[in-house]
């Protein structure tokens, strides 16, 4: 019963009937297990070793290329702060300067037109496009998120809506002097600067702040997988120790342990997750991962505690434990030599199913803006950033969503395979 009832609810343990595991089962390496383990390893390698290979700073913002698609390294013209001036007699809408920092347009006086309105459209788009500006001047400088593509500018009489002029231009790649100085491409105080500088490549494109998506996937994956692995590790260990002790000691301690587990299970999970997350608060400058893990630990331990308690209860009455006790093995020894190896497979299964749940919980909290805080990021936080631009730049949502899905899929299959191996019966549901 490894599949959770609800995608964000904590994993509920199977109510195992009689445990009859005298010896740890042997592992079978099925193809799906191999594939899943391979994928999980690949994910870990991607987030841990990836940054060594792809050495871009995940928080570096290339404002000259926000929300761009995949690019290879390009040369960009360095443009100064003062735009070119319009020239004297014009007969039509004229492009005076055209690069991705700005497109400077000027046009002649038109009889009986008081106010102009300027539209910008992509080349093959129908319609006039985006209304950029409205006013009485006879020139305009467009600086609004320009990309390397052909634009069509249309000038319209604002009062009557009659189309006056239209022109097309393809801006050349450019970077402002200020940004080039900021990025250290040219010295800050230099009065003269090179005409062109080279910009780095972005194989998956950039996000809305011009940050490299590939580098961010790696950095985000580190937080997501860190929470996804560390939180279950903590709450399963805690649950296992607590539950194991309860099962072995029995009596009042057992009663206390199980009643507290009952209480915690009764708390509405997500509601309390959000409440705890806010109650712990994140101070300025913290990435918010620690409170997240703490809240998960507080709310998720009971499932594994119950699971292990049941196992230990069943094991305690087994003859081989009795004989070990009679032959003078200490309690610690019994735990180490007999109980631990026997509950380990169950723990492994629980762990591998807890990972996807933890990844989801983190993603969900980051998605509603209560997860990690910037400049740290996570796949969930990236999804949150990306969902706004789903229509225009679907990659910004789909990449991190795919990363979440693939890792969760891998861990789910891994858990399934582990359980099938640990489980003697066929059927695949675990009981």
């Amino acid at each position: 019963m490894g599949i959770p009832v609800f995608r964000f609810a904590p994993w509920q343990p199977p109510i195992l009937p009689d445990v009859e595991c005298a010896a740890p089962p042997s592992w079978r390496w099925s193809p799906s297990l191999l594939a899943a383990a391979g994928t999980a390893m690949a994910m870990l390698l991607f987030v841990l070793v990836g940054p060594l290979v792809w050495q871009q700073d995940p928080s570096q913002q290339w404002l000259s290329q926000v929300s761009s698609g995949p690019t290879s390294g390009i040369y960009a013209r360095v443009v100064g702060p003062i735009p070119a001036k319009g020239t004297g007699n014009l007969s039509r809408l004229t492009v005076i300067e055209s690069n991705t920092e700005r497109v400077h347009l000027a046009w002649p006086e038109v009889v009986s037109v008081e106010r102009f309105r300027l539209y910008r459209a992509k080349q093959h788009q129908s319609g006039k496009g985006l209304p950029l500006w409205q006013g009485r001047d006879r020139s305009y400088t467009d600086e609004l998120q320009l990309r390397r593509q052909i634009y069509r500018y249309t000038l319209v009489d604002a009062d009557t809506g009659i189309m006056l002029f239209s022109t097309e231009t393809r801006p050349e790649p450019a970077i402002s002097v200020f940004e080039a100085q900021l990025q250290g491409l040219i010295p800050a105080s230099a009065a003269v600067y090179p005409e062109y500088v080279r910009l780095p490549a972005h194989p998956l494109g950039t996000d809305a702040l011009g940050r490299d998506i590939l580098a961010r996937l790696m950095a985000g994956g580190r937080s997501s997988l860190f929470v996804g692995i560390v939180a279950p590790l903590l709450f399963i260990s805690f649950g296992a120790i607590f539950g194991g002790l309860a099962g072995y000691l029995g009596g009042k301690f057992d009663h206390f342990a199980m009643r507290s587990a009952d209480f915690v299970v009764a708390l509405p999970f997500l509601l309390f997750m959000i409440l705890l997350r806010i109650a712990f608060g994140i101070g300025p400058g913290e990435d918010g991962i620690l409170p997240l893990i703490l809240a998960m630990l507080l709310l998720s331990w009971p499932s594994s505690a119950r699971l292990i308690r049941g196992q230990v209860l069943a094991l305690r009455s087994q003859p081989f434990i009795d004989s070990a006790r009679l032959s003078g093995v200490t309690t610690w020894g019994i735990f180490r030599r007999h109980i631990f190896p026997n509950v380990l497979p169950v723990l492994m299964v629980a762990f591998s199913f807890a990972i996807p749940q933890a990844i989801f919980t983190e993603a969900f909290l980051s998605f509603i803006g209560m997860g990690v805080s910037p400049p740290s990021t996570s796949w969930g936080a990236m999804c949150n950033d990306g969902i706004k631009t789903l229509l225009s730049h679907p990659g910004q949502l789909l990449w991190p969503a795919a990363m979440i899905s693939i890792s969760v899929l891998a861990f789910n299959i891994l858990g399934d395979a582990l359980r099938d191996t640990a489980d003697k019966r066929s059927g695949g549901v675990g009981q």
């Binding site: 609800f6 995608r7 009952d262």
Partner: protein, 315 residues
């Protein structure tokens, strides 16, 4: 025996609800921030008036006992942010929405899950089985908010292609508003139930009485409905209780994205705005709801399967 068991469970339920209420109360007051503060600065006289109105001028312990007293009489007070609305009204108006959505989600999950599970069991080991099982794992591996966002996108494309409103994109009020959010919400449960029913079906298929039925010449549809489906539904039905509870309390994302006025949305808003009374009302209500479901499930276990001993409870 039965009555004693039920009473025992109910008592525990009551204690659990008390625990939830207390834990929420103190967790909420531990959250930094001021529930009364507003965008614009207010004069001390106004502030004092507001504090007195909500009883915030009294010490915390006294506020706690006042709250407990009110809770016992079934009154959660008046919302901080929606100044004229009683929390009871908020719950009464918005919980049915969440519940309707939840029940529709369960219905979809149940029908779809049993159907998919039966197909998989019937073709055990063949490609339909593998396909269903892969889709099951895939379905629970995509975050809900991504599915919800994509589902909206698909509806928009669909409506644009059909040049009429086949399915509404968002909102609430009619039967057409329910299906897509319910499907998104129920997808995880659907996947889970299809695994469950597949396994149960497999067990049933290999049982003696199916062999006996076949020997008597019963086959096809009749065999499926009268013998296999009925028996395979047992484990599925016993899992419905927790699923209902989880789904009705967990529909935030779907409610947010599809603009559904459910209670979950109110809770998230309340936490963000530190609306003390609404936070308390919703958590206690949901906590009690969960507890009732768990007790009902426990009792129904006893009714359905005599092998489960009642006195032991479930822990």
């Amino acid at each position: 025996m039965m009555i004693k068991f039920v009473l025992h469970r109910l008592l525990w339920g009551a204690i659990t609800v008390w625990f939830i209420a207390t834990a929420t109360f103190f967790a909420m007051h531990a959250v930094p921030g001021d529930p009364l503060i507003q965008d614009k600065a207010m004069s001390p006289a106004v502030r004092a008036q507001l504090e007195a109105r909500y009883g915030l001028d009294k010490p915390l312990s006294q506020q706690y006992f006042t709250f407990m007293g009110n809770m016992l009489s079934g009154d959660f007070g008046i919302s901080f942010t929606q100044e004229n609305r009683r929390v009871n009204d908020i719950i009464r108006e918005h919980f049915p929405v969440s519940a309707t959505l939840g029940i529709a989600a369960i219905a979809i999950a149940l029908v779809g899950g049993v159907f998919a599970g039966s197909i998989a069991a019937h073709y055990r080991g063949q490609w339909p089985d593998k396909l269903v099982m892969f889709m099951v794992v895939a379905a629970i591996s995509v975050p809900g908010f991504v599915i919800a966002g994509l589902a909206q996108l698909i509806i928009v494309r669909l409506n644009a292609a059909a040049e009429s409103t086949v399915l509404p994109v968002a909102g609430w009020g009619g039967v057409n508003h329910v299906w897509v959010p319910a499907l998104v919400l129920g997808l995880g449960t659907l996947a889970y139930l299809s695994r469950l029913s597949r396994a149960a079906m497999l067990e049933v298929l290999s049982s003696d009485y199916i062999l006996a039925a076949r020997a008597r010449g019963i086959s096809g549809i009749s065999l499926f409905f009268r013998y296999q489906l009925r028996n395979a539904l047992l484990p599925v039905v016993t899992e419905l209780g927790p699923a209902v509870a989880a789904i009705t309390t967990g529909g935030f994302v779907v409610e947010l994205i599809f603009a559904i006025p459910g209670l979950g949305r109110y809770f998230v808003q309340a936490v963000q705005q530190l609306d003390y009374t609404v936070i308390m009302g919703t958590t206690v209500f949901y906590g009690a709801f969960l507890v009732v479901i768990v007790v009902l499930v426990d009792i129904s276990y006893g009714l359905i399967d005599p092998r489960i001993r009642l006195s032991a409870g479930r822990s």
